[in-house]
């Protein structure tokens, strides 16, 4: 389960609309409760998409921005709990590329479908497993906190 305040949920969807027809991406900070397999988001950090060669169908978060996000999390006494990106004119389902490039086991990967510039469905997938060899994406419920 991914719990996310409505304001942050709307913010990441809006980010996808703003960068359309290119993919947006960002980092989600908050806390993880392993006992109930729950991630609670407290902050979304927008990141630049480094894949300027193919930004309509690929994204790469700048390592420096990721490093800074990790530092911010530490200062807030929180963790990186997930990441988000958009799929311009494409369903909100993970792709083989998403899977191959997903390495943060235990974190949520949130995908928003943006059709003709408008955010549609937002889905979350938990990267489950224990190693790079047995990892898998599992559908995860999003609870929007209003």
């Amino acid at each position: 389960m991914l719990k996310i305040p409505d304001s942050i949920f709307q913010e990441i969807r809006r980010h996808g609309e703003e960068t359309y027809p290119l993919e947006c991406c960002g980092v989600l900070l908050g806390e993880v409760d392993l006992d109930v397999n729950e991630r609670r988001v407290s902050l979304a950090i927008r990141c630049g998409n480094m894949r300027t060669d193919s930004a309509h169908n690929r994204y790469l978060i700048d390592d420096k921005e990721l490093l800074a996000a990790q530092k911010t999390a530490r200062e807030r006494g929180e963790d990186i709990v997930g990441f988000y990106h958009s799929h311009p004119d494409h369903p909100a389902q993970w792709s083989q590329t998403d899977f191959a490039e997903a390495h943060w086991i235990g974190c949520s990967y949130v995908i928003t479908a943006v059709a003709k510039g408008k955010a549609e469905i937002t889905n979350s997938f938990l990267l489950d497993g224990s190693t790079e060899e047995d990892k898998k994406f599992v559908d995860e419920k999003i609870e929007v906190l209003r």
Binding site: V27, R58, I61, L67, Q70, D79, T97, W104, Y109
Partner: protein, 90 residues
């Protein structure tokens, strides 16, 4: 020196987000880390002992790939950050 552990690897590092180690180079510091927490090794290295391609290592704010890689010298007070990459697409 300190090594900052990313969220997914903490369970293999005694649930610590930061581990204190000694070492005169990045390689020594990482070797001391995996000597303390053996389970980390297979998450950081391939079977032939190379750092996995998606594992970025920063000495303070610099990517070690742009320094002297794992031979980069380190000193007391430095911090190493392990940051797996984030990418994907359609």
């Amino acid at each position: 020196m300190k090594i900052h552990i990313p969220t997914p690897l903490r369970q293999y590092a005694g649930k610590n987000s930061t581990v204190e180690v000694k070492g005169g180079t990045v390689a020594e510091a990482l070797a001391n880390l995996t000597a303390q927490y053996g389970d980390l090794r297979r998450h950081l290295y391939t079977d032939d002992g190379k750092l996995r391609a998606f594992v970025n290592v920063y000495l303070n704010d610099e990517d070690i790939r742009y320094l002297q890689k794992e031979n980069t010298p380190t000193k007391e007070g430095d911090s190493l950050s392990i940051v797996p990459s984030i990418a994907g697409g359609l």
